[in-house]
Amino acid sequence: MTQMNMVQAINDALRIAMRKDERVVVMGEDVGKVGGVFRVTSGLYDEFGDARVVDTPLSEGGIIGAAVGMALYGMIPVPEIQFSDFIWPAYDQIVSEVAKYRYRSGGEYTSKMVIRTPVGGGIRGGHYHSQHPEAQFIHVAGLKVVCPSNPYDAKGMLLASIADPDPVLFFEPKRVYRAAKGDVPEGEYTVPLESAAVVREGRHVTVIAYGAMLYEALDAAQKAAEQGIEAEVVDLRTLWPVDIETIIASVKRTGRLIIVHEAPKTCGFGSELVSLVCEKAFYHLEAPPVRVTGYDTPFPYTLEMEYLPLSHRILPAILDTARAV
């Protein structure tokens, strides 16, 4: 066990995967010598050389399009998109090609890759260095979407993603890249995809969160506990396919549900979770499910801490929901 932050844990996972399997290739803007703008790929260029740790031209569409070809060949590309805000030039390749390759070829081809990209706000990044675009990928059949919140999960889930036969969007909550620290085992291990973690038990209300907002949910749960309300906090970890059993079991226990995410509310992932819970546990719900999310505006700069669904917004939602009759 070593203490690591998320940057180190992800770096460690990449190194392990690359040592083990020479089909694994890292590619993207600035991933080489400089080791990524967040240093996540630091040192890989020195160890694996520029054929496997590739600084590419400035084109996300080119990165993902070429990665598809590599995947068809049998490599396991792990492209980095420098900020998830810049993934849209590659959206056509992801939606029309990556997601559909296995299906549309009747299973002859797959376009298996792990697309890593930092997500989320709270780093004074404004419009284009803060967004959290999971909904636009979860809606697309054929993709898996992952968002770990801590170093242990980040390493184990990245290794699981690389081993997984399907394409994975691997979202890294950059606000806690360095702030989230923890013990991480040396060497290889995996945290299974599609498994959520109940990170705090409670009987009054279920709070679902992921990525950086998990810590806000935990903070709010702590404060709620001081007022006698016990919130159960679930870290989704894998967003899609979601661990529906853990969610439903929790909601059946608490009868109340709060979902926290940074992305705008409308058509955000929260709306899917509300709908799933309504489908599967409607008669257990004792209060309307509540979404505490980013607002339906572009991501603001100066007011980002007002925009984000931080603890000060989650706490009243917990209290009100727990007390609703």
Partner: protein, 377 residues
């Protein structure tokens, strides 16, 4: 932009000095670029071009009869497609646009499977999931036909680049129309191939049209080949209706790529003699007279004249070939048409490697629904 201007571009295109041409009007071969095919090879390729054309014919008829939903063919472009595919070595790969079934068949795709795809039946290689003419054939090292224009270009580059990283001698050839040169993918594909010297051959079928949009609306560059300059990728123009010339330039590009000299952009100048697809009515935007100069340059007729001159293929052989193909097509179509549709539950396979819970639920819903084979309605 008048159609006169458009025509003149074409006249110019074909008289330009920089266009590689081997098969002259008199049926002679220009020794400078002659690929040196044996009589057997020429006959083989001619037979294949005839097959391609007859398949096209038949599919258009089937569509008109409402027996298949759609077809997008290669009428007039057979030499560009079959010549370039023939130039590939065994280990090379092909990343298609949507008009290259002739290449797929040449590289080993079974006619049966192709026709199954036209019917989207249970034997269709893509399990009836895509439109007609959208198939795959991994056994033939032939990629996956997709509708979004250009996506295969960047993918071919990634494939070739991967082979290079793994030090395999393998070239990826990708097809696209001249319209696709306007896509993001052309730009990304050429740029990445240039920077990483990915062993790729870019085969642009300049057939004059992107549905109703003529070439001069696609770009202000003088030629499509010279777009390679922007990427440090050599470009070459070839008479796309000249089987020999197409083989020669493609072979050269493959040799260069294989030797580590990097990618090549080939502009094969040809003409779309039919509509864009069975959904299109070209008379709405294209004067029929525009076809006249191209009728003379028909790629099959040119080879036929050459064969006649050489005496390598008799009229009787021609008749026999056509009769055989007709009969074969009748059988294959009949079999495909009789083959049932893919099963209801197959709709949920292959989205992921295995079925996640939500697709299991959705499949169960369908199988419990009124349309399931077990339903008693």
């Amino acid at each position: 932009m008048t159609s006169a201007a458009h025509e003149s571009i074409y006249t110019a295109a074909l008289s330009d000095d920089d266009v590689v041409r081997v098969l002259g009007p008199d049926g002679s071969l220009d020794a400078r670029n002659d690929p040196g095919l044996s009589p057997e090879e020429v006959v083989h390729l001619y037979r294949h071009m005839v097959l391609t054309r007859l398949v096209d014919d038949r599919l258009v008829t089937l569509q008109r009869q409402g027996r298949i939903g759609f077809h997008i063919g290669s009428l007039g472009e057979e030499a560009a497609i079959i010549g370039s595919a023939y130039a590939l070595r065994k280990q090379d790969w092909l990343f298609p646009c949507y008009r290259e079934f002739g290449a797929a068949l040449l590289r080993g795709m079974q006619l049966e499977r192709y026709i199954d795809n036209m019917f989207g039946n249970a034997n269709d290689p893509v399990k009836g999931r895509q439109m007609p003419d959208h198939y795959t054939c991994k056994a033939a090292q032939f990629g996956s036909v997709s509708s979004p224009i250009g996506t295969q270009i960047t993918q071919a580059v990634g494939f070739a680049w991967a082979a290079k990283i793994q030090k395999r001698d393998l070239v990826a050839l990708t097809y696209f129309g001249e319209g696709a040169t306007s896509s993001n993918e052309f730009h990304n594909g050429l740029n990445f191939a240039g920077v990483f010297k990915a062993p790729t051959v870019f085969l642009c079928r300049n057939n004059g049209w992107a549905i109703s949009v003529p070439t001069e609306r696609q770009t202000a560059s003088r030629t499509f080949a010279e777009k390679g300059v922007a990427y440090g990728v050599p470009g070459v123009r070839v008479d796309g209706n000249d089987l020999f010339a197409v083989i020669a330039v493609t072979r050269d590009a493959i040799r260069r790529a294989s030797a580590g000299e990097g990618p090549t952009l080939i502009e094969a100048i040809t003409y779309r003699m039919g509509g864009h697809s069975t959904s299109d009515d070209p008379t709405r935007y294209r004067d029929k007279s525009l076809l006249d100069p191209w009728a003379d340059r028909d790629p099959l007729a040119r080879i036929k004249r050459y064969l006649d001159k050489q005496g390598w293929f008799t009229e009787a052989e021609e008749q026999k070939l056509r009769t055989e193909i007709d009969a074969r097509l009748r059988d294959v179509v009949e079999a495909a048409e009789k083959t049932p549709a893919p099963s209801l539950e197959s709709m949920f396979d292959d989205v992921y490697a295995s079925l996640p819970w939500h697709l299991r639920e959705q499949r169960a819903e369908v199988l419990a629904g009124p349309r399931a084979p077990s339903a008693h309605h």
